[in-house]
Symmetry: C2
Subunit: 342 residues, 2 copies
Amino acid sequence: MATKLITIAFDVMGSDHGPAEVVRGAAQLSLESPHIHALLVGDRALIDDALAEIKHSGERISVQHASEHIGMDEKPGEALARKPDASVSVAARLVAEGEADALVSAGNTGACVLSCARHFQLLPGVRRAALAAVYPTRDRHGQKADPFSLILDVGATVEATAEDLVTFAVMGAAYARIISRNENPKVALLSNGTEPNKGPRQVVEAHAALSAMRGLQFIGNVEGVDIPKGTADVVVTDGFVGNVCLKMLEGVHDTVVELAQYAYKESLRWRAGLAMLSGGIQRIKDITDWEQYGGAPVLGFDRIFIKAHGRSKARAIANAGKVAAKAVAHDLGKAIQQGLAR
Amino acid sequence: MATKLITIAFDVMGSDHGPAEVVRGAAQLSLESPHIHALLVGDRALIDDALAEIKHSGERISVQHASEHIGMDEKPGEALARKPDASVSVAARLVAEGEADALVSAGNTGACVLSCARHFQLLPGVRRAALAAVYPTRDRHGQKADPFSLILDVGATVEATAEDLVTFAVMGAAYARIISRNENPKVALLSNGTEPNKGPRQVVEAHAALSAMRGLQFIGNVEGVDIPKGTADVVVTDGFVGNVCLKMLEGVHDTVVELAQYAYKESLRWRAGLAMLSGGIQRIKDITDWEQYGGAPVLGFDRIFIKAHGRSKARAIANAGKVAAKAVAHDLGKAIQQGLAR
């Protein structure tokens, strides 16, 4: 692997834990990854204060001031129009202009996707972009035996055509190949039955097209039960269904955590059991905890964007930066185009 | 409550645990519920053998022979055409002809729904039927504080129009009112955001129509995260999305059970903890175990049909019979028509 310096633009503002947490993540990255340069975009005073308090490698961090930012609850379209100097816009523009190689943000997802759409170009052959999400599964995947699968789209393209679904399949496979070092990822369509004729028309049509495609390990339809199991490495669906599924996993996770906390508080007998069982509970939590992993890519643009969860702590931010750098180093955009050409 | 005798036709064949298990459920019912008569439809010799081995009230059980049955893995349309004397068809016909008041089956879901469609009439104003499912939630619902919600459609109508979704909302509310004794159930549309303009067009249109409807507590859109939480008493979506969600809950349940078993086997330390924590684990399992509840209604026909899970044991079969009798006693069909008239 060549270790060409890769610059990642971090949108420092607008995450749940505030700018200092994102800065801490970039600082960790600067110490751990000599081939990554972090360009921190946001309120310069806040960033400098945060940097002053934490160990970092000064030569691998720079700052670009942006006077505004988009809040988590703001409406993306309106907010971006009202705030031309919002950190996510400035960061996306820097990436588009080649000042940085990829964008990472833990802010308002809608504003991120919209900023990408405005500043980046769709790859040739891609009609609609997809937001993908990594989620934990029972089964392990790829060379690194990652305990997670990829699901897309989870909200960028609410209604997808058969052609869009095929494109999502190719893009998801390219991403899994690069990020999970999974040479031949198993790709599946999400449907209400495994038979090729199951599902709405666009799913049936996409099934036929994917079955005929070379260079892609299409395993057919999977059902809801296969999502937590991890039957496929890449699960393809439209943004409506994907969003509902991803948020369901989040809801199940919250419920499990809540019950564990309830058990902890309520009963001494339980408490003793809980301490002994911490390994087991942790595994159950891992299965349902979709936020512990690096980040979620927006796929289909000529530039790389990784969306970190709003609740990301420094470790998750650093991981998102590493994932972004890996996608750049392996030229994800080119891999997608090659896949579409097949 | 009047205790008029209600006859429930049980399709005895084709469940995962075999005819004897269904007969055992009906036998329990005959001892517990003096107002219910069980009409057992299937292979008479098998039924008689099973009855001979179990305590039951002979005067509240009768048998109707049917020489064929549909297997779990058979294609519903083909199998029903090939087997005119299949138990589910015979049972549905007996209900249509007034020989019984409602149908209960733990067999092939597709064959059940198709038999209903062939032998029953859609209620006036109902364009498409819906298969509803009861699933466990964190929050409790209704007067009986039931720890479950209703979701529909889960597979009968894969692509639903706005009008279908509105009908499903009314039918689900009527069912919750009767079965969960929930006078004013909270009804929600499943979408990818809570705002009224979120989701595909049919969801946005249904949102507008339901907002304008009187006599229904429409709480707007809910998201995937609200499914396990139980924010709504009745979650409305199309059969494609509902099927994926229901099966996802099943997959999460299987994973939790598997991890608990793994923990139990793998480690003495864990084993001690597990025993102490059994109450907590049981609660986690309850939240994700969608099969412990009575059954799932097909809504929209002039006759009552309750689908018990294929894996139902005798207790679940008896419960499904009670639910069916309750729907008959409270005239679910009339309640749905009154709801649609508003």
